[in-house]
Amino acid sequence: MSFSWAKPYEPKHPFMRWLDERLPLPRIVYNATGPGYPVPRNLNYAWNFGVAAGLFLVIQILTGIVLAMHYYATADGAFDSVNKLIMRDVNAGWLLRYAHMNGASFFFIVIYIHMFRGLYYGSYKAPRELVWMLGMVIYLLMMATAFMGYVLPWGQMSYWGAQVITGFFSAFPLIGEPLRVWLLGGYAPDQAALTRFFSLHYLLPFVIAGVVILHIWALHIPGSGNPTGVDVKDEKDTLPFHPFYTAKDGWFAAAILLVYALVTYFAPNYLAHPDNYIPANALATPAHIVPEWYFWPFYAILRSFTVDFVLDAKLWGVLAMFTSILLMFFLPWLDRSPVRSGAYRPVFKRFFWLLVIDVLILGYVGGAPISWWRTALGQAAAAYYFLHFLVILPLVSRFETPLPLPKSISDSVLHGEAAEAAPVGTKRGRKTAAATAAAE
């Protein structure tokens, strides 16, 4: 499960030895996030977002459990319990609610950076395919949890979000409409839907926590990847997780929490919609209905289908939206290049950044009101999204000539002992650094 040079767990205190023989839980922690887990020494800041995501899962579970103590899951009382009881009456309720609301957004921010990190550095490639796929399972669970949580305040956006998202299922022929009615427990969202969403919104984060454990377990079999994509060869390539990466992850967590606190305290509704402060009304849809920002790209793909072609436009939209996510499960087999890191793949790298721009365009289109040119832009961007994964990626991995890889991680990090050891900024340091660069 780990490298041969990993520091063995040797409990010193008699109690810890006693415990280790009966329930070796501290041993597992020591070997997973302690000195017993050797990590490549060259990780850049893109690698900090996994731990940050775990932090936000903890924040969401803690604030969520407390909010559930004050929330009424009734169609008559839900809106007031959030907007009156929690936001005004409960001591510090406003803070907990805003922390939970923005915590969801920040969870998605760090997860998206974490995922794009994986896309750029080929983290989905052998032997880490299952790490990637379990990550996608976590992402799907997060989407379901976030959607159901957004319904709970029972405002206009909550209600119509529930109506539209459950409406996806009605697109399927024959079984669609009965399935939608079964999911909602009625013809339109009402008490039955609200209560079951609350129950599942409470449950799913713990399922996510379970899959996170599998995700980390699967990761720790081959060990963490690194920016060069070169396998770890010996002890010189790694550092123990503790204290090196606990320190780096720790300070980075503090940095992210600072941004999170700024938004939560000074712009708590920046990422929200004013319409959700209007109580749910089953007879009037808000003029501009959009999901939360983290669903915008997929919403744009859904809206891209406007004409029937063999199947209904509606069914195409729903299928394309689900496919755009499910496609990612097949990424390890769509990109067959043996080189993992995008840093050594000049053609792939350009297409990667095009994909990032494409997803940003989809996000813009999904969040903006409908107009003919935005629809056309969204259609082009949606087409390119599928083109990237289904055509460009397989072709690039076949025809691209990658750059030469470094011999080892330590080789790419230590450009010769002389330059490395010289004090920063001194003449000798600069000279040797230049000399090494020239020699390379």
């Binding site: 109506q163 409406g167 009605s170 009402d190 089953a282 007879l283 003029a287 809206r303 029937d308 409908i370």
Partner: protein
């Protein structure tokens, strides 16, 4: 272990040939099947609890007085927690709906098929977009009626004509016509059938 058990079993299994099912195999399959069927049956209440309960299913009918609705106007009423549009079409709107050849329609239906005999000006439809269930605009005074003068769904841009038929955008079907009947020339009962 396993082979010993099998040979012991074989000697007990009097009269059974080589290819026959042994008594122990039968017992295993039967016991596991019984438990499996039981487990599936035990799932039934977990599945059916999700379905709408009888009070939700009860076809509550709503009576609406339409005497005050002038030509060109419409009202939105709630039935089964869903909006229903009742619109008094002007003669121009009726003519507009009848002028469209059925072959041009995504979900071909004439205005006559969507209204009661002799009441072609009374268009009663669900106010639920057949795309993803938003409430289209166009029933209220001054609301956007879209390019075909009927209804316009703000969520994903579906446009319906003056007969509530889908003409443009992602929705697959015309606005659904619920069961209803005229109980008098000025009263409509939604949720009731003619019979």
């Amino acid at each position: 272990m396993a082979t010993q058990a099998q040979s012991a079993e074989g000697s007990q299994n009097l009269g059974a040939g080589e290819g026959d099912v042994r008594r122990r195999d039968f017992l295993n399959v039967a016991a596991v099947s019984f438990a499996g069927v039981g487990a599936v049956v035990a799932l039934a209440p977990l599945v059916v609890q999700m379905s709408p309960s009888a009070d939700v299913l009860a076809l509550a009918s709503t009576e609406v007085d339409i005497s005050k609705i002038q030509p060109g106007q419409g009202v939105k009423v709630s039935w089964r927690k869903q909006p229903v549009f009742i619109r008094n079409l002007t003669s121009a709107e009726v003519a507009q709906a009848n002028a469209v050849p059925l072959s041009e329609l995504r979900d071909p239906q004439s205005l006559a098929e969507r209204t009661k005999p002799g009441k072609a000006n009374w268009l009663v439809t669900m106010g639920v977009c057949t795309h993803l269930g938003c409430v289209p605009l166009g029933i209220g005074e001054g609301e956007n009626r879209g390019p075909f003068g009927g209804y316009f769904c703000p969520c994903h841009g579906s446009a319906y004509d003056t007969a509530g038929r889908i003409r443009q955008g992602p929705a697959p079907l015309n606005l659904q016509v619920p069961d209803y009947k005229f109980t008098s020339p000025t009263m409509v009962e939604i949720g009731a059938t003619e019979k």
